[in-house]
Each structure stands twice: as structure tokens, then as C-alpha cells.
């Protein structure tokens, strides 16, 4: 059982650390996107806008500029995202526009994937077809699930061990730190692993669906019902005028007594057009949010979709718990800390593996591989994230293919970290250098932000807009934590050098 925990954990750990890190950052993906797009207005605490006016604006704009698109997708601002966006799929691919809701003017922010890059990466990686990425992460998640379960079984003295922290004792201390990270947050780690599998279950376990709905069209319908995401329906080919979207938004908002989050017009200008309106995700635990579907030509309500049965709600709540879109700021920070503890659990687990085997006989090659991969992941991954953020400030704003260049920075930085970890003769030297680089990057990022033309840090602070400033502040906090840990580690190695060696 202990071996299952060790090997299952070890083999999946490097990928899991990357998933945990980017997943944890995704809880603030809107804030990271705002930080990466200084051109966007901050979310002012007292900002007011009218979703009906926004819908009206988009309807006029899109009817003029995107009348041939298959779909219009409109999102409304909320307390996390200060702007309204419209996305449509025209003849030459996907296009997006951003609207400032208070002034009703279009803004053109710099091109970037923003926090969405981390969000996508954490469940489907990058540079791989999405399905492969999702399967790879699914397998790692399943290994994590097994590692957590076997970890609990291994840990018979779970309570006694929890209160025994033995610092400065090498492998013992890593074990205690590993236990503290995992035991304290165990319910969260179990929840996040299991619900992660649930979010993509129709990919991982499609057999029930295929058996119950052998017909492909019926299956598509069932999948749409399973995930509470309505299909667009077919176009008729008959032209028809579009009902005022502002009225539909107003109808939905007065019915729910809650703001709408987004709407989708499928086949605009066609008689078969439908408008689907989604309720705001805030303070609704279930990810399957209530929707109202209207006939676009007449504005008649066709369907009201709301999870009712216990299985629908259980499913929606599991996905909702994973994504945490319901969470207010306080809850979001709790999610962030628990996710960080998850990173800590994986990281200390890896360090425990090496420190336990360091002075024992065993496969030198295995030890070498694990140690170097540890460096390239535990230090290299944060370096890659920071390189991605730094490139956002360093690359020229007007550079074409800018979003892709930022992603190149991410992967090249990661690759260089791996090369450095492999080529450096001494592992502890490699550790020290990469962690130092991480600290330098963490300190430089807020500086860069002050120097490069970006949002006004002082202005945001004065107005009490914490979203972007928090990104800078978290960099400084991260730098402090790493410096503190490096100091401790340095003291420990110094005191552990045998006296004879010092004499010679």
C-alpha cells in the first residue's frame, strides 16, 4: 500500500504539479487577464451599467458587422471582469470585441491569452490536440485519486502524526511537511481530484452514453442535457428579423431577480434563430446555471432550463465546486490557498522521495532523473509562468501574433529550466540558481509593471481596485516565501557538514 502511494504519486507528480499550479492560478484568471491587459478599465467598486443597454449596443453592432456569423456569444461584466465581450465565428474564424460598459465605447486591449492560458493548460495542456491533453491529464488525475486514497490508508496514525512536526530533520521534516500539507487539506484534495474527473466524464467514460443513445444525433442531444448546455438547433434558411435582445435580457433579469451572465444567438437573421440567456454564476453553487431559451424572431420563451432532479443538482454542484465560479472574493482566496497547499503536497512528496533515498544504495540513474525533473518542475514551472507574465510587459504591444509569442516564452523558459537542471553538475547548485532566478523574476515583475507603460498602480490603489494590484503583491509574497525557505535550507546544510570535512 505504501509502495502504491509512493510510485503512483511519483510517476504523476511532475504533471500534477503543473496542473495544480496553473489550476490554482485559474481561480484568479479574470484578475490575471486584467493585469495582462492594462488597456482595460479596472472594475470600479461602484461601477454601474445596464445589461439591457449593452445587449442593445451589441445587437446593432453585430447586425452591421457580423450578420453572416453562425453564432454570437455575448458576455456581460461582473465584479471580476470589467468589460463586456462579443465573440462570433465568421467565415475567417473566431473574432472578439471588447466593450467598456460605462462609456459604451469599444476598447482594443493588447493581444494575449491572459489567465485563460493557465485555465486551458490545467486541463488540456498545449501544443497537443485537446483530446490527447485531456486524456493525459485524466490519467494523471486518476493516479492522484489512487495516491490520495492509498495515502490515507498508509497513514494509520493520521491524527498523531499530524501534531508531530519535527523541523530540521531531513527526510523526517519533509514527511511531516508533506503530511501537514495533505492531511489538513485532505477533503479539498479529494474533492478537487474527483470533481476534476467528473467535469470531463463524458470523455473518459462515454460507454453508458453510447449504449443508451446509439444514434449520434440523440447522443448529442443527451450530452447537451447531461451538461445542461443547449444545442443551437438547425437553421431554416428563411430570413427573419431579430427580436430586441435588450427586452429578452430584461425579461430574464426580472424573472430571476439576478443579473444575466451571457447570452448566445444562434443563426442570427434566420427564422430558426434561438437566443439562450444564462444566469450569473455568482452565489450559485451549481455550475449548471439556469437558462432561458427564446425564439429569436418573436421573443417567445421556448424553454426554461433549471436543474431540479437530485442527480442534476449533484452533478452541477460537483462541477461548480471544482471551478469555484460561485465564489466571492473571500472564498476565492480560500480556494487559492487550498490549491497552493495542493502544490505543496505534490512538491513535498517529491522532495521526500529524493531525501529518503539520498544516502541509500539504489539506482543512481533513477535518483538523478527524479532530482533533475524535480528542479525543472518545482522551480522551472514557476519560472515559466513568470516568463509568460514578464513577456506580456516586454513584447511590443502591436506585435502581430503577440499572444502566441507569450506562449513561446512560457515553453522556452520551461525548456531552458529543464536544460539547466540536466546540464548542471551539482543538483544543489541547480536548485539554488533556479530558485534565485524565480525570486529575481518575482521581484522584477512589479518593477517592470511600474516602468513599462501599463495600468496605474497608484490609481488603482487609491480607487480601491485590488484585482491587478493583488497580482503584483502576490509576486512579492511569493519572493519572500522562497527567500525564507532558501535561508532555512542553507542553514541546515551548513550545520550538517561533518566537522572532519570542514577541517580538511
Amino acid at each position: 500500500m505504501a509502495q502504491l502511494h509512493t510510485w503512483c504519486g511519483l510517476l504523476a507528480a511532475w504533471l500534477l504539479f503543473a496542473v495544480f499550479l496553473t489550476g490554482t492560478l485559474s481561480y484568479f484568471k479574470e484578475s490575471i487577464s486584467l493585469w495582462m491587459q492594462p488597456e482595460l478599465p479596472s472594475v470600479a467598486a461602484n461601477a454601474e451599467w445596464d445589461n439591457r443597454r449593452l445587449a442593445d449596443y451589441w445587437q446593432h453592432y453585430l447586425a452591421e458587422h457580423a450578420s453572416t456569423a453562425r453564432n454570437w456569444q455575448i458576455t456581460f461584466p461582473d465584479e471580476r471582469m470589467s468589460v463586456s465581450t462579443a465573440v462570433w465565428f465568421g467565415e475567417d474564424g473566431s473574432e472578439q470585441l471588447v466593450l467598456d460598459p460605462t462609456t459604451l465605447t469599444l476598447v482594443t486591449p493588447r493581444e494575449t491569452r491572459g489567465g485563460d492560458f493557465f485555465y486551458r493548460f490545467h486541463f488540456q495542456l498545449h501544443h497537443l490536440p485537446a483530446v490527447y491533453g485531456r486524456w493525459i491529464i485524466g490519467i494523471a488525475t486518476m493516479m492522484m485519486f489512487v495516491a490520495v486514497i492509498s495515502g490515507v490508508i498508509t497513514h494509520k496514525k493520521i491524527l498523531r502524526d499530524f501534531f508531530a512536526f519535527r523541523p530540521q530533520k531531513g527526510a523526517r521534516s519533509w514527511l511531516d511537511a508533506h503530511n501537514a500539507c495533505s492531511v489538513l487539506t485532505l477533503p479539498f484534495q479529494l474533492m478537487i481530484t474527483y470533481t476534476g474527473l467528473i467535469t470531463l466524464m463524458s470523455l473518459y467514460m462515454p460507454w453508458g452514453l453510447e449504449r443508451a443513445f446509439p444514434d449520434a444525433d440523440a447522443r448529442r442531444q443527451a450530452i447537451s442535457e447531461l451538461h445542461a448546455f443547449p444545442l443551437s438547433g438547425p437553421a431554416t434558411g428563411q430570413p427573419a428579423a431579430l427580436h430586441a435582445l435588450s427586452e429578452l435580457v430584461g425579461d430574464a433579469e426580472s424573472h430571476w431577480q439576478k443579473p444575466v451572465q451571457s447570452l448566445r444567438v444562434s443563426h442570427p437573421g434566420d427564422a430558426g434563430a434561438r437566443v439562450a440567456v444564462w444566469q450569473s454564476a455568482l452565489e450559485a453553487l451549481s455550475a449548471h446555471r439556469p437558462q432561458r431559451i427564446y425564439e429569436a424572431s418573436s421573443g417567445a420563451l421556448l424553454a426554461e432550463i433549471q436543474s431540479q432532479r437530485i442527480d442534476e443538482q449533484a452533478h452541477g454542484v460537483m462541477v461548480g465546486l471544482h471551478a469555484g465560479r460561485y465564489a466571492n472574493w473571500g472564498m476565492r482566496w480560500i480556494y487559492f490557498s487550498l490549491g497552493a497547499a495542493g502544490c505543496g503536497m505534490v512538491a513535498t512528496g517529491l522532495l521526500l522521495w529524493t531525501s529518503k533515498r539520498k544516502y541509500k544504495k539504489g539506482s543512481e540513474l533513477g535518483m538523478w532523473c527524479v532530482e533533475r525533473l524535480n528542479i525543472a518542475t518545482l522551480a522551472g514551472m514557476p519560472i515559466a509562468v513568470l516568463a509568460f507574465l514578464a513577456s506580456n510587459r516586454l513584447l511590443p504591444v502591436a506585435l502581430s501574433g503577440r499572444a502566441q509569442w507569450e506562449i513561446h516564452f512560457f515553453f522556452v523558459a520551461w525548456l531552458l529550466a529543464l536544460l539547466h537542471a540536466v546540464l548542471r553538475r551539482s543538483a544543489s547548485q541547480a536548485w539554488r540558481e533556479q530558485l534565485t532566478l524565480t525570486v529575481i523574476l518575482l521581484l522584477c515583475l512589479p518593477m517592470l509593471n511600474l516602468l513599462a507603460p501599463s495600468y496605474s498602480v497608484l490609481g488603482d490603489l487609491a480607487a480601491g481596485n485590488w484585482q491587478r494590484v493583488s497580482v503584483d503583491l502576490m509576486c512579492l509574497v511569493g519572493a519572500l516565501i522562497i527567500v525564507w525557505q532558501m535561508k532555512r535550507a542553507a542553514k541546515k546544510t551548513l550545520s550538517r557538514v561533518p566537522p572532519t570535512q570542514v577541517a580538511s
Binding site: 500500500m1 509502495q3 502504491l4 486518476m142 485519486f145 489512487v146 486514497i149 492509498s150 490508508i153 474527483y194 474527473l197 467528473i198 466524464m201 463524458s202 473518459y204 467514460m205 460507454w207 453508458g208 452514453l209 449504449r211 443508451a212 443527451a222 442535457e225 447531461l226 432532479r309 437530485i310 442527480d311 442534476e312 449533484a314 452533478h315 460537483m318
Partner: protein, 93 residues
């Protein structure tokens, strides 16, 4: 954990790994199909099958490394596969 742990029984370990991965997935997948026979709404049975299957898989994977007897392990996986296949093919719904 393994019988005669002092001798490296790589093939025995391999059989356990196979049971945990392949065996676990087959039993879990068949469970998700067999659940369709539950006398419930089709979407409800579907969700129960899909959401339960990961717990079944994790259970089989963990148990593959607990049980001392490989014969019992593969016997149980075979038995579960056969009975789930029966339910999946001749279930009520």
C-alpha cells in the same frame, strides 16, 4: 505486500499493475453501462453510472495492491466483469 517480497517478482507486480489499470477501467466502464438497468430516469442512471465509475476504478486499483492473492484478485475482476456484462446485456431497461 507481494508474496516472497525478497524475490523480485516483476511479472507479479506487472499483473497487479494490469489489474489496477486495465482491470479497473474495464470494471468501471461496465459498471457505467450496467447502471443503465437501474429502474430510474435514463439521465439519472447515466449520471449514477458515470459518476460512480471513477470510485469503482479507484477502488479496484487500490484493492489490487492490498489483496495478497493474485488469483483472488483476478478471479474477482473476472467475476465482476461477467456479472456486470450480464446485467448490461439482459438488464430490465
Amino acid at each position: 505486500m507481494l508474496p516472497n517480497a525478497s524475490i523480485p517478482h516483476y511479472w507479479m507486480l506487472l499483473l497487479r499493475i494490469m489489474a489496477a489499470t486495465l482491470g479497473g477501467y474495464i470494471v468501471a466502464a461496465l459498471f457505467s453501462v450496467a447502471a443503465l438497468s437501474l429502474p430510474l430516469d435514463i439521465m439519472m442512471s447515466l449520471r449514477i453510472g458515470m459518476m460512480g465509475s471513477f470510485i469503482i476504478w479507484a477502488g479496484v486499483a487500490t484493492w489490487s495492491f492490498i489483496t495478497p492473492s493474485l488469483i483472488r484478485l483476478w478471479g474477482a475482476i473476472g467475476l465482476a466483469t461477467c456479472s456486470l456484462l450480464l446485467v448490461a446485456n439482459y438488464g430490465i431497461h
